[in-house]
């Protein structure tokens, strides 16, 4: 591969994911982190917004820190489509040459960013939880968990541009929105070819489950094998309810049929990083830790003092959760 002139690439971009006309919160979080990176590099922070009838969202991105918004508002982009989103983003990036492009490590971001990285001959790092800059070479250090979270790796893309990453949701902090903030909205020319796809959206089925989506929750109370049975899971639910949080579970609890798979946290379930994670009767396998150890505050309640979960917890209670959970729930209800 011919050596690239890295000087040609300037600017920090974030892909602003929206579903059905609503921006995903991770877009605002990435604008928060992106602002920091762009200020350090002394370049613009730009957002890329794709969709249909979404022009009004551009101002929200500017209010949250973007200097420019590259906007493609087209009926063909009404629903997420891997090919179209990849082609259009690669098309815009080839025209304007950013040095960094970030998106959320969501179902959407992780589905189409790999395609963009191939189209742009760029490196891509998955599910990053931190970013640092090397100002001499303008390299972005992309820090991510690997091996089920038990290993951290610092990845760099020394020769290629743009440097691309998907970033974990709920790890970075959004800025306080300033509605008066001014920015520029740019509507780039898109090649007709970029809007051709062989796959097409048919329909969206909302999950019938009415419980809080654990990926979105700020507080999660999770139960594991130590709960002892499906009936006892109500102790976990009641505590979650008292705290206004969601209910999570370890694989052992799901495999025992105590709670549906959509609640599973861990390597084969969902990766979460809430502000508060209370692990009840969860020993803390490498797989479970992979899914929750980037939570801000972890509380562990377990009868086994040797359980690895205490190794990642800030607060621990060694004891019988049949006593502790109801007592805590009652205390919270009292206020």
């Amino acid at each position: 591969m011919a050596k690239l002139n890295k000087e040609e690439f300037k600017g920090v971009w974030i892909f602003a994911e929206q579903r059905r006309g609503k921006l995903h919160n991770v877009a605002f979080e990435l604008l928060g982190k992106g602002r920091e990176l762009a200020d350090q590099l002394k370049v613009d922070l730009c957002a890329v917004l794709l969709g249909n009838g979404i022009t009004a969202l551009a101002q929200d991105l500017i209010a949250a820190g973007a200097d420019k918004v590259y906007l493609v508002d087209d009926p063909k982009l009404d629903h997420f489509n891997d090919e179209l989103y990849a082609n259009v983003l690669a098309d815009i990036a080839s025209q304007f040459k950013p040095e960094i492009i970030l998106t959320g490590a969501t179902a959407v971001g992780r589905a189409f960013f790999p395609r963009v990285s191939i189209l742009l001959n760029a490196g891509l790092t998955a599910d990053c939880t931190a970013f640092e800059l090397d100002m001499v070479e303008r390299n972005l250090f992309q820090i991510r968990p690997a091996f089920g979270g038990s290993l951290m790796a610092k990845i760099m893309t020394p020769e290629r541009r743009p440097q691309m990453s998907t970033a974990r949701y709920k790890v970075f902090k959004a800025l306080v929105k300033d509605p008066a903030r001014k920015g520029e909205v740019i509507k780039p020319q898109i090649k007709a070819d970029s809007l051709q796809a062989r796959s097409q959206f048919v329909e969206f089925i909302e999950e019938v489950e009415t419980t809080i989506n654990i990926s979105e929750a700020d507080i999660i109370v999770s139960g594991g094998r130590g709960i002892g049975g499906g009936e006892n899971f109500k102790l976990v639910r009641e505590l979650a309810q008292a705290l206004g949080g969601a209910v999570g579970a370890s694989r052992a609890a799901v495999d025992s049929g105590w709670i549906p798979y959509s609640h599973q946290v861990g390597q084969t379930g969902k990766t979460v990083s809430p502000k508060l994670y209370i692990a009840c009767g969860i020993s803390g396998s490498v797989q479970h830790l992979a899914g929750m150890q980037s939570s801000d505050i972890i509380v562990a309640i377990n009868k086994d003092p040797e359980a690895p979960i205490f190794g990642v917890a800030k607060y621990g209670i060694v004891g019988d959760l049949n006593e502790i959970l109801p007592a805590l729930t009652e205390r919270i209800k009292k206020g």
Binding site: L124, Q200, F204, E207, I219, L243, Q287, K314, Y315
Partner: protein, 262 residues
């Protein structure tokens, strides 16, 4: 119908232990297995074949030892297995790996390419969609159900965070599957017998017509600058002591101070 399933040999993370002294992973004692998500991809491939006819070929890129997982796939019922093995491929990142797998699939001919949603060692989920882009195929990730499939078209349900996207695509197509899609079969006795004698076809970069400037550690865009154990120091938790009421009161106070109780 030519179906190619890309699989990976990974350390057995269900068996992996953290060294309590150093806090690092004891990889050497863990052993290796087929990436668990790949079982679902093989199962789905076999089901497509049972419905529409054709062949199922499993491909893995790795050292000669990776033949072990190819034999498991043969035991499950795959028709053929290919080991892509070449020193030039060593240290390839997802960008380079997906190129090599795409070239292999191109060489073999392929109407449907299947992947597990991600490998449990790297956890990137990038190789499936990247390979699809090299092949200029649509990629449908996180597939939890194939609703309809014919020689020309497929309709799938994809698991997104907020629900299910139903998507239609022409063939050829690449899919990455989640574990909800099926219950993988065990190796049959007949399959095991065949696997015992079966020698996977070994291919080199030259065999697949690959460009050596596209692969290997040297040509991979990403570099690991540093890696370290992420296990927080054991026993770091502040233990809350006392009788049940005192503990509940104490934890309540902490949660309130932290702003979790309004």
């Amino acid at each position: 119908m030519k179906i190619v399933v890309c699989i990976k040999q990974v350390p057995d993370t269900t068996n992996i232990k953290v060294d309590p002294e150093t806090g690092t992973l004891k990889r050497e004692t863990a052993g290796t297995v087929m990436n668990p998500f790949d079982m679902y991809a093989i199962e789905e491939a076999l089901r497509i074949k049972e419905k529409l006819g054709g062949t199922v070929t499993v491909v893995t890129m790795g050292p000669p030892m990776a033949k072990e997982i190819l034999k498991v796939a043969i035991g499950m019922g795959a028709d053929e297995a290919v080991l892509l093995c070449d020193r030039l491929l060593a240290g390839s990142d997802t960008w380079a790996t997906s190129y090599a797998l795409a070239k292999t699939a191109e060489k073999l001919g392929c109407d449907i390419m299947l992947f597990g949603k991600q490998a449990v060692d790297g956890d990137t989920a990038q190789v499936g969609p990247s390979a699809a882009q090299y092949m200029k195929m649509p990629s449908l990730t996180w597939v939890k159900k194939i609703r309809e499939i014919s020689d020309k078209e497929i309709v799938v349900e994809r698991m997104m965070e907020d629900g299910i996207d139903v998507v239609k695509s022409s063939l050829p197509v690449a899919l990455t599957v989640v574990k909800e899609i099926n219950e993988p079969r065990l190796e049959s006795l007949k399959g095991k017998m065949r696997a015992k004698k079966y020698e996977p076809q070994v291919m080199t970069l030259a065999d697949i017509g690959g460009d050596e400037n596209m692969v290997g550690v040297k040509n991979s865009p990403t570099r690991v600058a540093k890696s370290w154990s992420a296990t927080r120091e054991a026993g770091k938790a502040e233990l809350i002591e006392g009788d049940t009421a005192a503990r509940a009161e104490n934890l309540f106070g902490k949660l309130k101070t932290l702003g979790f109780i309004k």
